[in-house]
Symmetry: C2
Subunit: 207 residues, 2 copies
DNA sequence: AGCAGATGCAAGTGGGTACTTGCATATAAC
DNA sequence: GTTATATGCAAGTACCCACTTGCATCTGCT
């Protein structure tokens, strides 16, 4: 199997997994979806479980780079909103896969772990960004940074993962939710749009 | 089948569902777990799907009354913390069931709906409580109530549902997280422990 | 062209599953 | 005790599934 075909199989597997879950993704289905013979899957991957684990590992859960936070904060609300918007979009696009993998925790604990890979780096990036906000005087409650970061990520994750199941529990419209989460997160940290250390032209108050 | 036995079957079904998911919960397993004959399940419930749906519907996802918010706020931080603590505990205790049901969204959409039943009432109760806080002058940003409420619920839900999968993404220790979420939520609403309308003995500042 | 390796085809193995059927036994009500 | 109903037992039906096997064909390289 050439690499393009191998990738083709892995992509087919993830698509089916998102729709049908682990047990519902049969090797016959994968073979048909990928346009290969069923026996080829076993020759190449050894077992259905190994195939699906490799497929999940190769599937990018967290889009990197798309909406990284800047090294130097310039407009915190806009920057955090852009970050939250990108995060939510990425997670939303792969929500069915995530739900299926999380549900496998008891019987195939490697699967949810594929979903959380990369989360630590993003948490660290947000932490770092908030610390810079603190250093620049944008926020007053720096002790709450870890907690506010966790709450922001939870809001984004929960919104991306479950809004289609329970739409009324989330701020409407969906496209405006990231901005709301970003704003409230900054508010909870005692945000002030004027960097205390660097007097600037007066800006309209946030509230 | 007497009602106690019927309940016994439903409880066995939910236990197995939490562990093995929909497909992995076989009728043979349910029969064994409940101590009845497999054919009895079909006589009483008609099909495996109907049995499991009834089991999920009868399973209380949101414990009512355990930690209801008071009609008249007295100590908002303590009250919201108690609420968050109770909510998180209830959801945490049934997290595996919720995960399994959410993962069935594509193929058995009735199942996640069993999980969200009752959520609206809780959201309304929190909304009402926050509005009272606003009326009493405890919070200054009443326009953000719906958003803050949603963020608080997301934090609790996400913590309860996924902490065992990805412990490092949540505030430590777990027992202290509800208080943190409650505090940050109130902070984001511009909370002041002294009710502006009712001067009281000065209290220590929150931050 | 020849050769080695990869892939396809078709059939099969050895399990598993939701559900049904016919008869026997148990239980509850009168 | 009798009768009606519920449940258990055992076997069966008609599928489903991951995986294997033997042979044929295809592909890429020399």
């Amino acid at each position: 199997m050439t690499t393009p075909t191998r990738d083709h199989v892995l992509a087919a597997a993830v698509r089916l997994y998102a729709e049908h879950g682990f047990r519902g993704t049969t090797t016959r289905r994968i073979a048909e979806e990928a346009g290969v013979n069923e026996v080829t899957l076993f020759r190449q991957f050894g077992s259905k479980t190994a195939l699906l684990l490799e497929a999940l590992r190769s599937h990018e859960m967290f889009s990197r780079g798309a909406n990284a936070l800047p090294d130097a904060p310039v407009d915190p609300l806009a920057e955090l909103t852009a970050f939250a918007t990108g995060m939510r979009k990425a997670l939303h696009g792969t929500r069915a896969t995530i739900r299926k993998a999380m549900a496998e925790f008891e019987e195939n604990p490697e699967m949810p772990r594929c979903m959380t890979h990369g989360a630590a780096a993003i948490h660290a990036a947000v932490q770092s960004y908030f610390e810079k906000l603190g250093a620049l005087g944008y926020i007053s409650d720096t002790k709450s940074i870890p907690a506010a970061k966790a709450m922001l990520m939870s809001a984004i994750f929960h919104d991306a993962l479950h809004r289609d199941i329970d739409p009324h529990s989330f701020p409407q419209p969906a496209a405006g939710a990231p901005a709301i989460y970003a704003r409230l997160c900054l508010q909870s940290l005692g945000f002030q749009p004027v960097a205390a250390r660097r007097p600037r032209t007066a800006k309209r108050r946030v509230s």
